[in-house]
C-alpha cells in the first residue's frame, strides 16, 4: 500500500474506494432482489435464524437461574454484552458472507473468474453470498438489547453511552469482518481446515459474548492487543456499564475503537493481497 503522496493520488484513491463501495452495494442489491422474490421463504429463513440465535441467548439466562453473578457481572450486564456482540457479529456475518464460502469458491475454480474482472477481488468475494436471512441474528441482537435493559433497572442511557454503543457495534462489525477475511485468506494456502476458520469467527463471537475477565491473562491480552475483537464488544459495553477495564486501560478506550478496527482491517487486507499474489504464482 503506497503512502498517499500528493493530492491527486489521494483523490483517486478516495474515488476508487467510493466506487468500490457503491459496486459492493449494487452487487448485494441484486441478490436481495432475487431472494426477495420468494417472500415466504425469506421470512421463514429469517425467522428460523432468529429462533436459533434466540435459543443461544436463552442459554445465558439459564446460567443465571442458579448463579447470581459471573465474576461480578449480573444477568442484565452479561445479556447486554451478549447483545452488542451479536449485533456487530451479525452485521459482519451478513456483509461478509462471501468470505465464509470462500473455500468453496476456490475449490470450484471460480476465483479465476474473479481475477478476470477489472474490479477488486475482495469486493467481489465479500459480496458474493449475501443472505438476507442473517438479519435474523441482527434482529435477535436488538431484541436481546432491550431485554437486557429490562434486567438493568439502574442503567440509564446517556448521549455518550449511545455513541459508545454505536461506535462499538460499527467497530465490532469491521473487526469481525477482518477475522472472516483472515479465515478466507487461509484458503490460499490450504483448503482443508475450514472448520478452524469457524473457531476463529463463530468461536470468537462465543468467547467475546462473555466478560473478558473470565479468561486467563494470555487470552485477555490476545483479544485486546493481537486480534482486538474486544474493542467491538467488551470495551464499549464496559464503558456503558461503567465497569473498569483490565490492565489499567482507560475507561473511555472505546472512542479509540474505530482506529483500532480500521488498522486491523488494513492489516488483514494486506495479508489477503499477499495471499492473492501467492495464488497467482502457484495457480491453485
Amino acid at each position: 500500500m503506497a503512502i498517499i503522496a500528493d493530492k491527486a493520488t489521494y483523490r483517486r484513491t478516495i474515488d476508487n474506494v467510493l466506487s468500490d463501495i457503491r459496486l459492493y452495494f449494487r452487487l448485494i442489491w441484486m441478490q436481495i432482489r432475487s431472494q426477495g422474490q420468494y417472500k415466504a421463504d425469506m421470512f421463514v429463513n429469517i425467522g428460523t435464524y432468529f429462533l436459533t440465535t434466540s435459543l443461544e441467548f436463552a442459554a445465558v439466562f439459564l446460567y443465571f437461574a442458579n448463579f447470581s453473578t459471573l465474576l461480578g457481572w449480573n444477568v442484565g450486564e452479561v445479556a447486554m454484552l451478549y447483545a452488542v456482540t451479536s449485533i456487530g457479529f451479525g452485521f459482519s456475518e451478513m456483509f461478509g458472507a462471501g468470505l465464509d464460502i470462500f473455500p468453496d469458491t476456490i475449490r470450484l475454480g471460480e476465483f479465476d473468474r474473479v481475477l478476470l474482472r477489472p474490479v477488486s477481488a475482495l469486493i467481489q468475494i465479500a459480496s458474493s453470498d449475501f443472505r438476507l436471512r442473517r438479519l435474523g441474528r441482527i434482529t435477535q441482537g436488538i431484541v436481546a438489547l432491550f431485554i437486557a435493559t429490562a434486567f438493568l433497572p439502574a442503567f440509564h442511557w446517556t448521549l455518550l453511552k449511545v455513541a459508545a454503543m454505536c461506535i462499538g457495534i460499527a467497530s465490532g462489525t469491521i473487526l469481525f469482518l477482518s477475522v472472516w477475511l483472515l479465515g478466507a485468506t487461509m484458503c490460499f494456502w490450504t483448503v482443508e481446515p475450514t472448520e478452524l476458520v469457524n473457531i476463529l469467527t463463530y468461536g470468537g463471537r462465543d468467547m467475546l459474548s462473555y466478560p473478558l475477565n473470565i479468561y486467563n491473562q494470555v487470552m485477555q491480552r490476545i483479544f485486546l492487543f493481537v486480534v482486538p475483537l474486544a474493542f467491538g464488544t467488551f470495551v464499549p459495553v464496559s464503558y456503558m456499564l461503567e465497569k473498569s477495564l483490565p490492565f489499567g486501560l482507560p475507561n473511555n478506550l472505546v472512542f479509540a475503537s474505530p482506529a483500532v478496527a480500521i488498522a486491523f482491517f488494513l492489516a488483514a487486507r494486506a495479508i489477503w493481497q499477499f495471499g492473492v499474489r501467492r495464488y497467482q504464482s502457484t495457480g491453485s
Binding site: L23, R26, L27, D112, R113, L115, P118, R277, T282, G283
Partner: protein
C-alpha cells in the same frame, strides 16, 4: 499492431508430494518433497489485432496455463508478455477491462438470476456507460438472438443458449481481445454451427481478436486461418491450417461399406479378411469389419475420388465416408518426425 506479444514464456510449478500416512502428512508440512513440473517452456507468440487463432493441443499440454498467464491470473516463471499494450502481471485490472473470456464448461453468469440481470450487473462491474451499454446490448441482442430467453434464469437455459449468453456477457464492454476456451464443447451439430457463425461475425464485423482453444478440429478448420499447436508446454506448430494436414496429416482413411453378399463370395485369407483385387499404389487395407473396409491411403499417392471410382468399378458400394487423422495422431507424427516448427 500487435495485440499479443509473447517471448520466452515459461512456467514451472512446484508441486509438493504428499507422503502417505498421518505421520507422513505431518512431515510433508515441515519437510516437503518438491517436484518441479514445467508446464510451459520457452513459448513465443505474436498475434496481430483482428486475427482469429486456434490453439490446439492434447489435455495437459499447457494451453490453459498459457491462457492464464496471458490474462494475468497466473504469474509466469520467466519470459516477457505484452497483451493489448498492457503487462498482464502488473496491470491485471486494466487489462481485464480490455479482454473478454468465455469458458465452455463454466459460465460467468449468475446462476439464479435472469440473463438480463446478469448483463446489467456486468455493466456495473465493467463500468460501461449507459449509452454504450444500450447500444452494445441492442446489437448483441439481435446478433445472438437473445430475446427468446433474456428473462429466463440462467440455470434453466440450454447449453447453446447459455453459450450465447456468455458471449454477450464477454462482449458487453467492447473488449479488443476475446479468449474462448472450448466454446462448442457439448453442443449439438446445429448449435455448434450457429456459434461458429456468430464467432465469425464477431471477428469480421467487430474486429475483435479471437483466441480459440479447442479439441474440435472442425472448429479450427472452419474458423481459424491460423493455428498454434502446443504440446508438453512447447509450441510445435504455428501456421496455416490447410498446410498442416498436407505436411503431417499422413494417411487418410476411406471407409467403404460393400455389399455383404458379394464380400462373402470372395476368397478370404488366413486372417479372415476378404482378398480384394490388387490395390493401387499407396493404398492399404487397414481394417476389416464386414461389410465395412478401412482403406488407408496417402494424400499424394492417389486423389480420394479416384480411389472411390476404382473401388466402385470393381465392387458394389453401399456407402463411402472418409476418416481424417485425429489431431493427436498429427501431433504424435510431428514428434516422431522430431520436428519442432515455428512458422510465424
Amino acid at each position: 499492431m500487435n495485440m499479443i506479444e509473447v517471448s520466452g514464456l515459461g512456467k514451472t510449478f512446484r508441486v509438493a508430494k504428499r507422503r502417505p500416512g498421518l505421520l507422513g502428512g505431518l512431515r510433508s508440512i515441515v519437510d516437503p518433497e518438491i517436484k518441479r513440473v514445467e508446464a510451459v517452456h520457452d513459448l513465443s507468440l505474436n498475434i496481430e489485432a483482428g486475427e482469429m487463432i486456434g490453439l490446439i493441443g492434447p489435455n495437459g499440454a499447457g494451453k490453459s496455463t498459457t491462457i492464464k498467464m496471458l490474462t494475468g491470473i497466473l504469474v509466469p516463471s520467466k519470459g516477457h508478455m505484452r497483451v493489448a499494450g498492457f503487462d498482464p502481471v502488473r496491470q491485471r485490472r486494466e487489462l481485464a477491462q480490455r479482454i473478454g473470456v468465455v469458458f465452455g464448461q463454466r459460465t460467468q453468469l449468475w446462476w439464479d438470476l435472469p440473463l438480463i440481470d446478469s448483463l446489467r450487473l456486468l455493466r456495473h462491474l465493467y463500468r460501461v456507460p449507459e449509452e454504450r451499454f444500450a447500444a452494445n446490448f441492442a446489437q448483441l441482442r439481435s446478433m445472438l438472438a437473445l430475446d427468446e430467453f433474456i428473462e429466463t434464469p440462467v440455470r434453466q437455459l440450454s447449453l447453446g443458449q447459455r453459450m450465447r449468453g456468455d458471449l454477450a456477457a464477454a462482449l458487453l464492454h467492447d473488449p479488443a481481445l476475446l479468449y474462448l476456451d472450448e466454446p462448442t464443447i457439448g453442443l449439438d451439430v446445429v448449435a455448434k454451427a450457429r456459434i461458429r457463425e456468430i464467432l465469425q461475425q464477431i471477428n469480421a464485423e467487430r474486429g475483435v481478436t479471437v483466441l480459440l482453444t479447442t479439441h474440435d478440429m472442425d472448429d479450427i478448420e472452419m474458423l481459424c486461418p491460423r493455428m498454434v499447436i502446443i504440446d508438453h508446454g512447447r509450441k510445435l506448430y504455428d501456421g496455416a491450417v490447410e498446410a498442416i494436414r498436407e505436411r503431417f496429416g499422413g494417411d487418410r482413411a476411406l471407409v467403404a461399406t460393400l455389399d455383404a453378399a458379394e464380400l462373402a463370395k470372395l476368397p478370404h485369407d488366413a486372417r479372415g479378411w476378404p482378398m480384394l483385387d490388387t490395390l493401387p499404389d499407396g493404398v492399404t487395407l487397414a481394417q476389416v469389419e464386414e461389410p465395412r473396409l478401412w482403406l488407408g491411403f496417402k494424400r499424394d499417392a492417389i486423389p480420394a475420388h479416384e480411389l472411390v471410382a476404382w473401388l466402385g468399378a470393381r465392387y458394389r458400394l453401399h456407402d463411402v465416408t472418409f476418416q481424417e487423422p485425429e489431431i493427436e495422431d498429427v501431433i504424435r507424427r510431428i514428434y516422431e518426425q522430431n520436428l519442432l516448427l515455428s512458422v510465424a
